[in-house]
C-alpha cells in the first residue's frame, strides 16, 4: 500500500512547508466555491418558498379566468371581462372527465362590520367545494352547504386575520357580520394559510355562497373565475384541454374570451426568476472557479520552477517521471479540494447569516455540495496537470545543476 500513500505523504509535506502560500492559493477556490454555495443556498431557499406558496394554492388546480391574457394586453386585468357564467362552471362539473370539484368565484372588496368593529376585506363568493380545492381546513364550525347556495343563505366563513381584527377575544362562530347592511351569520373559521405568491394575506378574507354574493351583494351575472380541481396530477392537462374545448363551444365567440391556467404553469412562471438566477449563478461559478484554477496553475508553475533542484534530487534517487507527475498533481488537487471544502463550509455559514438577518429561508442542496467537491477536484487536476507534466519531463542532471 505504501506506493499508493507515498505521493500523498510527499504532497502533504510540501504543502505544510509553505503554509501561507498554500492558504493564499486556496483562497481563489475558497471564494469561488463559497460564493457559489452561498448564492445557491439563498436562491434554492427562495425557490422552495415560491414552490411552497404555489402548493398552498391547493392540489391539482386548474383555474379558468374570464378574458384572454395573451391577446392585446391585459384589458381591465384578469378576471374582469364579463364572459364566464355559473352555467359554465356547472357544465365543467358535469361534462369534463376527471373533475372532482368546481367553485365559481366572485371577488369584491367591502367594508365589514361586526362586534362593534369595522374592517375592509376581500369578500369571496364560492361554492362549498372551495375548502377542498384550496386544501384549506375549517378549524372552527363548518363550511356552508349546497343547500345554502341554493337558498342564497346569508352565511359566511372567515379567515384568521378577520377573526383577529373583529373578534380578538370571543368565539366568532354564531355571531353576525354585516356587509353592505346585510347581516351574515358566521358558520366557520378557516385555518391560517399566510401570505400567497403575491404577498397578499390569504387569511384576510370572508367567504360566502357565490349565489348570495351575486344576487345580494355585487348584483352580478358573471363570475370572475372558476376554480377546478382535477382528480390527479396526470389528468391536469386533459382537464385543461377539455375545459378549453367545452368553453369555446359554449361561448362561440371568434376570439377566445377566457384563459385556462394550470397550477403547473403558475409554478413555472413563479420559478422563472429563480431559473434565470441559477443560470447567472452557473456563469459566476464558472468564472470564479476558472480564476481559482488559474491561481493554482500559476502557483504550481512557480513551485515547479522553485523546486527544480528538489525534483532533480528525487529523480536522482529513483523517482520516475510518473512519480513526479503524481506528486505535483496531488499537491494541486489537495489545494483545490481543501479550498473547495473550506469554501463549502464558509458558503453555508454565509447563507445562514443572510437567512438570519433577512428572514429568507436558505437550503443547501446536497447535489451542489457534490458538484462543488467534484469541480474543485477537477480544477485541481486540470490546472495542476501542465505544471506537473512539465516537472515530470525535467532531466535529472539539468535539474540538479539548476540554481
Amino acid at each position: 500500500m505504501m506506493r499508493l500513500l507515498a505521493p500523498f505523504k510527499i504532497a502533504a509535506r510540501a504543502l505544510r512547508r509553505n503554509k501561507m502560500r498554500s492558504l493564499l492559493t486556496m483562497l481563489g477556490i475558497i471564494i469561488g466555491v463559497g460564493s457559489v454555495i452561498a448564492a445557491v443556498s439563498i436562491t434554492t431557499g427562495a425557490t422552495k418558498q415560491v414552490e411552497d406558496k404555489v402548493a398552498s394554492l391547493g392540489q391539482n388546480i386548474v383555474t379558468v379566468f374570464s378574458g384572454n391574457f395573451s391577446s392585446g394586453g391585459m384589458r381591465g386585468g384578469w378576471g374582469s371581462a364579463p364572459t364566464l357564467t355559473v352555467e359554465d362552471s356547472r357544465a365543467i362539473k358535469n361534462e369534463v372527465d376527471n373533475v372532482v370539484a368546481v367553485s365559481p368565484e366572485v371577488r369584491d372588496r367591502s367594508q365589514i362590520l361586526a362586534n362593534g368593529q369595522n374592517w375592509n376585506t376581500q369578500v369571496l363568493g364560492e361554492s362549498p367545494d372551495y375548502p377542498q380545492i384550496r386544501d384549506w381546513d375549517i378549524v372552527n364550525g363548518a363550511m356552508f352547504t349546497d343547500g345554502d347556495v341554493r337558498a342564497l343563505s346569508k352565511v359566511a366563513i372567515i379567515g384568521k386575520t378577520v377573526v383577529d381584527q373583529l373578534f380578538p377575544t370571543d368565539d366568532p362562530v354564531g355571531q353576525t357580520l354585516v356587509v353592505r347592511n346585510i347581516p351574515f351569520k358566521i358558520v366557520g373559521v378557516l385555518e391560517s394559510k399566510g401570505f400567497n405568491l403575491f404577498g397578499q394575506d390569504q387569511d384576510d378574507v370572508v367567504i360566502i355562497p357565490y349565489t348570495s354574493h351575486m344576487r345580494r351583494l355585487s348584483k352580478r351575472t358573471f363570475v370572475n373565475s372558476i376554480m377546478v380541481q382535477a382528480a390527479d396530477k396526470e389528468s391536469i392537462v386533459q382537464v385543461q384541454t377539455d375545459i378549453t374545448t367545452l368553453l369555446r363551444d359554449r361561448h362561440k365567440s371568434a376570439e377566445q374570451d377566457f384563459t385556462v391556467r394550470t397550477q403547473l404553469e403558475v409554478m413555472q412562471m413563479a420559478t422563472q426568476t429563480s431559473r434565470v438566477m441559477s443560470v447567472l449563478l452557473a456563469a459566476i461559478a464558472s468564472v470564479s472557479l476558472l480564476v481559482g484554477g488559474i491561481g493554482i496553475m500559476n502557483i504550481m508553475l512557480v513551485s515547479v520552477t522553485e523546486r527544480t533542484r528538489e525534483i532533480g534530487i528525487r529523480m536522482a534517487v529513483g523517482a520516475r517521471g510518473r512519480d513526479i507527475l503524481i506528486q505535483f498533481l496531488i499537491e494541486a488537487v489537495t489545494l483545490s479540494v481543501a479550498g473547495g471544502l473550506v469554501g463549502i463550509a464558509l458558503g453555508m455559514v454565509a447563507a445562514k447569516v443572510v437567512a438570519a438577518s433577512t428572514g429568507w429561508p436558505t437550503v443547501t442542496p446536497v447535489i451542489w455540495i457534490g458538484i462543488a467537491c467534484f469541480s474543485s477536484a477537477g480544477i485541481g487536476i486540470i490546472s495542476g496537470f501542465y505544471p506537473a507534466w512539465k516537472a515530470s519531463r525535467l532531466d535529472p542532471i539539468e535539474a540538479l545543476r539548476y540554481e
Binding site: M2, I313, A316, R322
Partner: protein
C-alpha cells in the same frame, strides 16, 4: 564462471555542444570494475570526473560507447527504467550534498524508499532510515534539518540516504570535498567499513591522501584515463584516526 564486472564501460564518450564550441568531457573511457572494488577517480578540475560518474550512476547517457551495469545494457533503457535502476542498485553521493532543504535528516534518508518498488511499511522505512543514520554516526541528529547541520554532518546524511536502499554500488562525487582532514578520515572510515561489508565503491577525489584509503586509483586527464593502478600503501582510516587523536591530545597536553 569468473565473476562478472559490476561496471563495464567500453569506449565511452560524452560530448557537450555549447554553441560553436564542442567540449569532449569524456573522451573514450574503457573500464571494468569488479564487485567489491574500492576505486578512487582523480584528476584536475574539468577532467571529466563528474561527467563520468553521472554516466556510471545512470543519471546521464553517453554520447557513444556501451555501458553494462550488472550485465544490463544501460543504453537500451528509457528514463523510467534508469530511474528504477538508480533506486534499486545505486547509491549516489553528490558533489554538492543535494539534500532537500527544510526537510529533516530522517525524511531525507527515507526519501529513496518512497520510490522503491518493494512495499515498505512506514515503520520499516523509519527503522531502515535510522539504521542508515546510525551507520554514519548521525542517529542523534535525525530530526535536524540540513541548515542545522555542519558540512560533514550533511555529507553523512547524504551517505546515509545513498545507503538506505541497500545498493550494491556506492558512487560518491568528492564526498570529502569540503571537509576538514579529520572528518574526511571519518568518512573514509565509513566507506572502508561498507566496502568490507561487500559494497562496491567508486569515488571521486582531488586529494591523494584520501585516495590512498581506496584499493584502486584511476587518474583522468582531458576525459581520458591516464593512470590505472592499485594503491600501494593503503591507509586504514581507524588507525589514522587514532593517530590523529593521539597527536591532538599531545598538543593539548603540551
Amino acid at each position: 564462471m569468473q565473476t562478472r564486472p559490476v561496471i563495464q564501460l567500453t569506449e565511452i564518450h560524452k560530448v557537450y555542444q555549447t554553441g560553436e564550441v564542442e567540449v569532449r568531457a569524456v573522451n573514450g573511457v574503457t573500464l571494468n570494475i569488479m564487485p567489491g572494488e574500492f576505486v578512487a577517480i582523480m584528476g584536475s578540475s574539468g577532467s571529466g570526473k563528474s561527467t563520468l560518474m553521472n554516466m556510471i550512476g545512470c543519471l546521464d547517457r553517453p554520447t557513444s560507447g556501451t555501458y553494462f551495469l550488472d550485465g544490463i545494457d544501460i543504453s537500451t533503457l528509457d528514463r523510467n527504467e534508469r530511474a528504477v535502476i538508480r533506486n534499486a542498485k545505486i547509491g549516489f553521493v553528490f558533489q554538492g550534498f543535494n539534500l532537500l532543504s527544510r526537510t529533516t535528516a530522517l525524511e531525507n534518508v527515507e526519501m529513496p524508499m518512497l520510490y522503491n518498488h518493494a512495499r515498505i511499511t512506514n515503520a520499516e522505512q523509519r527503522a531502515r532510515a535510522i539504521k542508515s543514520l546510525e551507520l554514519v554516526g548521525l542517529a542523534t541528529r535525525s530530526d535536524h534539518k540540513p541548515n542545522q547541520l555542519s558540512g560533514g554532518q550533511q555529507q553523512r546524511v547524504a551517505i546515509a540516504r545513498a545507503l538506505v536502499n541497500q545498493p550494491s554500488l556506492l558512487l560518491a562525487d568528492e564526498p570529502t570535498g569540503n571537509l576538514d582532514s579529520q572528518t574526511s578520515i571519518e568518512i573514509m572510515g565509513v566507506f572502508q567499513k561498507l566496502n568490507e561489508a561487500g559494497i562496491t565503491i567508486v569515488m571521486v577525489t582531488h586529494e591523494l591522501d584520501v585516495a590512498s584509503y581506496c584499493k584502486r586509483m584511476i587518474i583522468l586527464r582531458d576525459g581520458k584515463i591516464r593512470t590505472d593502478e592499485w594503491v600501494a600503501k593503503r591507509l586504514n582510516a581507524e588507525f589514522e584516526l587514532n593517530k590523529l587523536r593521539a597527536a591532538q591530545q599531545a598538543v593539548k597536553l603540551a
